[in-house]
Structure formats: structure tokens, C-alpha cells
């Protein structure tokens, strides 16, 4: 079992004919992901990936024709609002937006639209979701993780790969790995993912990889303390980050007094979470 995606997921790729979209669609399909359709406005009627995957002009026609139930979005930042809204409007249950660099105002509007929708948005600025052995929906390298019983949630890309890789080296596998995205405004928070993993019978413990900025980790610590029965192991990046400087991720900036790595670590420890000192330390805590 797993959360969000599995072998039955029928995946749509928005922006499938773009350079990134096509490259990663190849990788996803090679991994075994069931890609059922792509969308690129103006290219409806074409076929990609060995002429096996149909391309549509709109998400709605793609969904009507192929019954896609999840979408991965690879469009450039300036078109991302339109693409996410299009997926919401087509009632796609799971939307994963890989795109980075989306203006915060666009995301505020998307958050408002999500309130009256049944869709879940993962990201943006996420490496996506990986259920090892079943479905790779995004850009997480497929070969660095094996199936297992640890759920993983992260705000970061390569840092997550580092942890997956360190775990695999110790033969530790993952139920599902979810990147919630590195931006200040994301579709889904740690809490919602923690709750899904808590429900998932095949997840026995959860690794949470956080970083400076915002108060996602603070809220997660509180949630873990009050709601979670499964053990949680955390790692927080950014102890050495200076205040007020944006550290790559739009979300990774220490604003005022909230959001420092030390504060987050302290709250996690108070919530009974084992906190790793460095990424490669995590397998030892599992």
C-alpha cells in the first residue's frame, strides 16, 4: 500500500511535449508509471512516447477520453496558474505541480480555488511523488529507493534523494515519498501528509525532512504530538543559514523570529520526534 499514487494511478502529464515534460515522461514510463495522456495546447491529436500516448489540447478532453485520475504539471511558471486551475476545473483528484518559480499571488488564488474543490495539490516546486515499485509521478530518480514501510515527506528535492539513497544503502525502503514543495505557499502541508500516512496500513513510521522558513514544521510538531501514533523521524536543514536571506527555495527564508531551524528542531524534540543531525544519520534512527 501507499498514499496518493500506486500502480492503478492513471497519470496525465500537462506540458508533455515540452523539453522537461517529455524527458521526465520517458523516465516515468520506463519506471512503470501508467501514463494515459498528455496535454499541450495546440498539439492535440499528436502522439508521443513511441506514439503510444495521446496528446490533447485541454485537460477536460484528456480526462473524458482517458479517465486520468492524477496529473503532473511541467509547464513554465507563467502558465502554471492556468494549468493548475484547468486541472482543478476538470476535477482531477490529485494534481502534482513540478514547476518552480510561480508568483506567490498566483498561488494565493489557487489556494482560494482549492477551498471549494475536491482536488489535492502537491507542490508547486516539488520533485513529485514516488511509490517505489509502483508509480513515479514527478522527477524523483527511480533507482535510489526501494519499496518499504517508511513514509517520507519533504520540502526539498536533492536533499530527499540523499536520504532515500542513504536508506537504500541500508536496505531500508519507502511506502511513498512525497515532496510538498519548497515554496512559501504550497498546495498541501506536512500535516495533511502525516494524516494520510497515519491512515496508511503499510506505513509504519514517517521521515519528515524540513528546512528553515515558514511554520509548517512547527504546526507538524504540534500535530505529531496530539494526533500521530506512528513514530516520526525528522531532519531540518538550515542551522547555518543567515537571517533574512532567501536560500534558494522561495520558502527558505527566516522571517522575523519564526522559522529558524533550531526552533523547529526543539519543537520536534518536544513532540517526541527523533531528529537526525545530518541526512545520512537518518537510517540509524529507523
Amino acid at each position: 500500500m501507499s498514499i496518493l499514487v500506486d500502480k492503478n494511478t492513471r497519470l496525465l502529464v500537462q506540458g508533455i511535449t515540452g523539453k522537461e515534460g517529455l524527458f521526465h515522461s520517458e523516465l516515468m514510463r520506463t519506471y512503470g508509471t501508467n501514463i494515459v495522456a498528455g496535454v499541450t495546447p495546440g498539439k492535440g491529436g499528436e502522439w508521443v512516447l513511441d506514439e503510444k500516448i495521446p496528446v490533447f489540447d485541454t485537460v477536460q478532453t484528456a480526462v473524458q477520453t482517458t479517465e486520468a485520475d492524477a496529473s503532473v504539471i511541467f509547464v513554465p511558471a507563467k502558465f502554471a496558474f492556468d494549468s493548475i486551475y484547468e486541472a482543478i476545473d476538470a476535477h482531477i483528484p490529485l494534481i502534482i505541480c513540478i514547476t518552480e518559480g510561480i508568483p506567490a499571488m498566483d498561488m494565493l488564488k489557487i489556494k482560494s480555488l482549492l477551498k471549494t474543490s475536491e482536488s489535492i495539490l502537491i507542490g508547486p516546486n516539488t520533485p513529485g511523488v514516488l511509490t517505489p515499485g509502483e508509480c513515479k509521478a514527478g522527477i524523483i530518480p527511480g533507482n535510489i529507493s526501494i519499496p518499504g514501510s517508511t513514509g517520507m515527506i519533504s520540502r526539498s528535492g536533492t536533499l530527499t534523494y540523499e536520504v532515500l539513497y542513504a536508506m537504500k544503502a541500508k536496505k531500508l525502503g519507502v511506502s511513498t515519498c512525497v515532496g510538498i514543495g519548497g515554496d512559501a505557499i504550497t498546495g498541501t502541508s506536512f500535516i495533511e501528509m502525516l494524516s494520510m500516512f497515519e491512515q496508511d496500513p503499510d506505513t509504519e513510521e514517517i521521515v519528515l525532512i524540513g528546512e528553515i522558513g515558514g511554520n509548517e514544521e512547527e504546526l507538524a510538531a504540534d500535530y505529531i504530538m496530539t494526533e500521530m501514533t506512528k513514530p516520526v523521524i525528522a531532519y531540518i536543514a538550515g542551522i547555518t543559514a543567515p537571517k533574512g536571506k532567501r536560500m534558494g527555495h522561495a520558502g527558505a527564508i527566516i522571517e522575523g523570529r519564526a522559522g529558524s531551524a533550531l526552533q523547529k528542531i526543539e519543537l520536534f524534540r518536544k513532540a517526541g520526534v527523533k531528529v537526525a543531525e545530518y541526512p545520512e544519520d537518518i537510517p540509524a534512527l529507523l
Binding site: 520533485p127 522527477i139 539513497y165 512559501a184 534558494g248 527555495h249 522575523g256 545530518y278 545520512e280
Partner: protein, 381 residues
């Protein structure tokens, strides 16, 4: 992207928010001239993007043009928090009856814009938020609806604003919302918003941060970036699409991915070293980007060793290896030692390329950090 006070005030003026009369100057003699034109007492304000300007002597009152010139001469030689003062704003002095606070910013937690006001302006709003949260009124704004009149009235009531100023207050609040929205600001702040003796409400200071992600739709705002005020290496890095933040340690870091870059710095610190910088080459970087990044690190005299940590996903390790090779070839002799760790996509090919160059390879992040610290020769015991 933060912009200078005088730039924020130019935007305020466009939206008809009252500001004191004044002008920005690059030298002391122009300061005198501005002071003469303004006629009365003036305030000379250092234009720097760091906090604590007032306490550091960056805001001073001058009784006459002579004094204004003297103050400006003095200021232009000063530094505030390490940043030299190149520009000053000269403004008429305003008789202040009361100082208020007003801003619109983005509330990350609730994912909405929020308008914040306080009857205690002029202070650090974060201090106030911690010490006396009841003095601060916050009203979330639905981004789909925009700021409404009743919300502005609610704020006016909360901060006990005298009724005769309500109309102007509403006009200023609406202008802030227009700026926030039209210019994709993540913060637009008036602190203090003063009730002046002569002119009613007026923005005495202005602060504005623009969402970097939205600069593509505001080319005119991107031009406001004050390159003077930023670390030259950070400016250089930006040109190549590299995120670089200069720090005070001696081990240069070159990493792909922001989270991993922070983790790499943290592990250096944990093992007793001090990172010289944050550097993220981003995803899918080519050889050239890697060379440019290395050049920036090599040009930093603080740097005693360089740690390269790459986890290949979209990024290909052979590309990275080519970039490293090229950057090293440019140097006659390698001045600082390198430690390199490559994992993931095409790591084997990359490792082979580097082995030919006889560059030291590490196999884990911990090993890489420890090697770099030892090579930097300044490990604390």
C-alpha cells in the same frame, strides 16, 4: 527583492499616497542644493537595505543647508552593517503628531494577503507582535475579492484613528492593496504612517519587497534592483542563474538543490568547520554553470577549501565533472584544495573524468565534509 526607501516612495507617489517633499542625492553638494530648495529643516536618510538604520546614525535632522551638507558628507563615508552608504534621501522635516503603522503582506500560514495596522508606529512591528499583540490589528484579505471598505473601517476602529482621517486612511490602504497586487509585492509597508500637524496622514518611511518569482511580469521593477547594495559575487552568481549567499566561513560549498546545499553547510558546521557560502546551482545545470560557480568560489579570498556535493537527478554528474575540469584548467595552479562527491545520474562517468584529473573523491557526505575541513587546515579541535 527589496527596494530602497526612495524607490518605494516613488511608487507611493504614483498611487497618490502622500509623502514628504524630497529628493535622492549621490553626493553632499547636491544634498545642500536639495535642502536649499526645500527651504526649511530637512531630514537626511541613508539609503541602505539593512535594518537598524536609525540607531546606526543613518537618519539625521539638519537645521539648514550647511548642516545638511555636513551630515551628508559624513554619511557618505559611513557603513551600516557592512554596507557603504552611496545614496541619501533628503526630505522636508515633518511635524509629527502621532506615528502609526500600516502594511500589506503575505501571510504564509493562512495563504492570504493580510493588512496590518497599529496605533504604535515607528517601532519594529515584529517586536510589537511579540510583546503586545493586542496593539496590532490584522485582517486577512481574500485575494479573489480584494481589500474592501469595511475591512479598512475595521482597521481604523481598531487603531482608534480619529474620524477626520478615515477617508485619507482608506485611500492609502486601497493604494497599498493596488501596489501589493499590481506589483506582486510580498510586503509593502509604511512605518511610520504619521499624522502630521499640517498635512494629515503621510508616509514617512516606505519599505517594499517584490516577489522574485513575479519579476518576469514586471521588467520595470526588476530594473530597481540596487546592485550597489549587494555583494558583488551574489550579483555575478545571479547572472548565471546561480543562488549564492556569501557567509563568513572558509569552506566554499557548491551543491545542487537548496535543501541539500543547506544540509551540506550544516554538516560542515556540525563537524567543526565553517561554510564560506550557500551556493545552489539548481537543477539540470550544465558544465558552464558549474565552471562559473567554481570561479566565484575561487575568487573569494576567505575560501581555504571547496566542497562539491552533487546528487544527480535531472543534473548529470558527467556534466558537473566537465565543468569542474574546465574551471580548474583556467587556474595555473589550484590555490585551494577540492573535495568532490558525486552520486546519482551518470555518477560513474563523472567519477572517471575526475579520476583522470586526480581530484579527490568522497563517497559519503560525512566523509566529504570531514575531508574538506581537514584540507582547509583550520579545523577547530
Amino acid at each position: 527583492m527589496k527596494i530602497q526607501e526612495y524607490q518605494a516612495k516613488q511608487i507611493f507617489q504614483k498611487y497618490e499616497i502622500p509623502i514628504p517633499r524630497g529628493q535622492v542625492a549621490l553626493n553632499a553638494s547636491f544634498v545642500r542644493q536639495i535642502a536649499e530648495d526645500l527651504g526649511d529643516k530637512v531630514v537626511v536618510k541613508a539609503q541602505v537595505l539593512v535594518g537598524g538604520r536609525g540607531k546606526a546614525g543613518g537618519i539625521r535632522l539638519a537645521d539648514d543647508p550647511d548642516e545638511a551638507e555636513d551630515i551628508a558628507t559624513e554619511m557618505m563615508g559611513m557603513e551600516i552593517n557592512g554596507f557603504p552608504i552611496h545614496k541619501v534621501l533628503v526630505e522636508e522635516a515633518v511635524d509629527i503628531k502621532k506615528e502609526l503603522y500600516l502594511s500589506i503582506g503575505t501571510d504564509r500560514m493562512n495563504a492570504t494577503p493580510v493588512i496590518i495596522a497599529s496605533e504604535y508606529g515607528g517601532i519594529d512591528i515584529e517586536d510589537a507582535a511579540e510583546e503586545a499583540p493586542e496593539k496590532i490589528a490584522r485582517i486577512p484579505i481574500d485575494p479573489m475579492v480584494g481589500l474592501c471598505d469595511f475591512q479598512i473601517r475595521g482597521l481604523a476602529v481598531s487603531i482608534d484613528l480619529p474620524r477626520k482621517h478615515w477617508k485619507k486612511f482608506a485611500q492609502i490602504a486601497n493604494a497599498l492593496w493596488q501596489i501589493y497586487q499590481n506589483d506582486d509585492a510580498s510586503l509593502v509597508e509604511i512605518n511610520p504612517l504619521v499624522i502630521s500637524e499640517q498635512n494629515g496622514l503621510m508616509a514617512l518611511d516606505g519599505k517594499m519587497t517584490i516577489d522574485d518569482n513575479a519579476l518576469f511580469r514586471h521588467p520595470e521593477l526588476a530594473d530597481l534592483r540596487d546592485l550597489d547594495m549587494e555583494n558583488p559575487s551574489e550579483v555575478e552568481a545571479q547572472k548565471y542563474g546561480i543562488t549564492y549567499v556569501h557567509m563568513t566561513g572558509n569552506i566554499g560549498c557548491l551543491v545542487n538543490g537548496a535543501g541539500l546545499a543547506m544540509a551540506t553547510m550544516d554538516i560542515l558546521k556540525l563537524k567543526g568547520g565553517e561554510p564560506a557560502n550557500f551556493l545552489d546551482i539548481g537543477g539540470g545545470a550544465g558544465a558552464e554553470k558549474v565552471s562559473s560557480a567554481l570561479r566565484i568560489l575561487f575568487s573569494d579570498p576567505q575560501v581555504k577549501a571547496v566542497l562539491i556535493n552533487i546528487f544527480g537527478g535531472i543534473t548529470r554528474c558527467d556534466e558537473i565533472a566537465h565543468g569542474i575540469t574546465a574551471a580548474i584548467a583556467e587556474q595555473k595552479k589550484l590555490k585551494v584544495p577540492l573535495v568532490i562527491r558525486l552520486v546519482g545520474t551518470n555518477a560513474e562517468e563523472g567519477t572517471k573524468i575526475l579520476e583522470k584529473q586526480k581530484l579527490p573523491i568522497a563517497h559519503s557526505l560525512v566523509e566529504a565534509a570531514e575531508k574538506a575541513i581537514s584540507l582547509s587546515g583550520v579545523k577547530k579541535k
